[in-house]
Every structure is written in C-alpha cells, then in structure tokens.
Symmetry: C2
Subunit: 103 residues, 2 copies
C-alpha cells in the first residue's frame, strides 16, 4: 500500500492547525507553503541543514527556495500527487526547528 492523500477528516484535524500557523495552500496544487525569515544567511542555511538531515532520514524532501536570510518551503508528496501525513509530519518538524531560532 502506497502513501495516501489526506482525506477530509484528516484535513480538518491535521491540516487546519498548520493553515492557522502561517502555512498556506499553494494555488492550483494540493500542496502547502510557508516563508521563513532569519537574521542572516548563516541562520537560514543552518535551519535548512537541520531540515535536510531529517528529510533524507525519512525520505521525504521539501521543495525550497533560499536567498540570503529568506527560505520559502513547499511541501507535497510526489507519490500520491498531493498532501499526505508525511507533509504534516515534516511541516511540524520544520516549525519546531524554526522555533529554536530567535529572530
């Protein structure tokens, strides 16, 4: 059994809290995105590195853009062409890591 897209109930219980915490739906895609800002590039890339280590461990990777102190992250699951539990898990991890940075 492969990865399943989130169903209606899961979207209400799992996705809604993220959408109330600065994550937003990507236009025309079943994906979520969020922008993060840091003091400088060093902080931004340190943040990215912690996420990269986790992403590779759980084999679920972000789509992300960085310029200097800004990081834009989009999450979706390739295998099910939409949002799955994996994206919820990674989003929570990302938010937890971001919380460790004091801006």
């Amino acid at each position: 059994m492969g990865v399943q897209k989130l169903n209606e109930e899961e979207r209400n219980t799992l996705l809604s809290p993220l959408l109330s915490d600065s994550w937003e739906m990507v236009q025309d895609r079943d994906a979520i995105k969020k922008n993060f800002t840091f003091k400088d590039f060093n902080e931004a890339f340190g943040f990215m590195t912690r996420i990269a280590l986790r992403a590779d461990k759980v084999d679920h990777h972000p789509e992300w853009f960085n310029v200097y102190n800004r990081v834009e992250i989009t999450l979706a699951t390739h295998e099910c062409k939409g949002l799955s539990q994996r994206d919820v898990n990674l989003a929570k991890f990302i938010d937890n890591v971001y919380a460790t940075f004091t801006n």
Copy 2:
C-alpha cells in the same frame, strides 16, 4: 568604492565562457542561472553545503531552488543590481564543485 557591474569588455572575457558552459542570462534581469542534477538529495544538498560555506565566507550568496536531486542557481549582485566579478567568481567555484560529483 562599491561593487561595480561588469563592463562590456569584462562581459566578453569573463561572462562569455560561463554562457558557453550552460549558464544562461535570466530574462529581464542582469543575472545568470544554471540547473544542476545529482544522483539523489544527499548529493544535491552536499553540493549546496559546499557552496553555502564559500558563499558565507565571501559574503556573496546565491538565489537557489532545490527539489530532491535538482538545484537551480541564480547569481547576481544585490549591491550593484546586476552582474559583478563576484558572480563570475562564485559561478566558477560552483562549476568546480559540481565537477567533483560524478553523475
């Protein structure tokens, strides 16, 4: 004295070799971009990490997008709103690092 945009002669001597090596001008911007592909995310982020260390050391940072094994890099100099010697230097460094990855 701040960072200067590349002049005509410098574009011929310094930029042309890059444009012959898969770098291309960004539309409507005095900037260059190039796409890099790797075996997997681990390789792609290893590549990014080597560039990040250099970028922070020389205080000249890329604009970049990554998803899984792909990295898209755009270079321009914020200070002069266009291409400078710093972008040429970083592009060469990036190409040298990329050459160490066997695809």
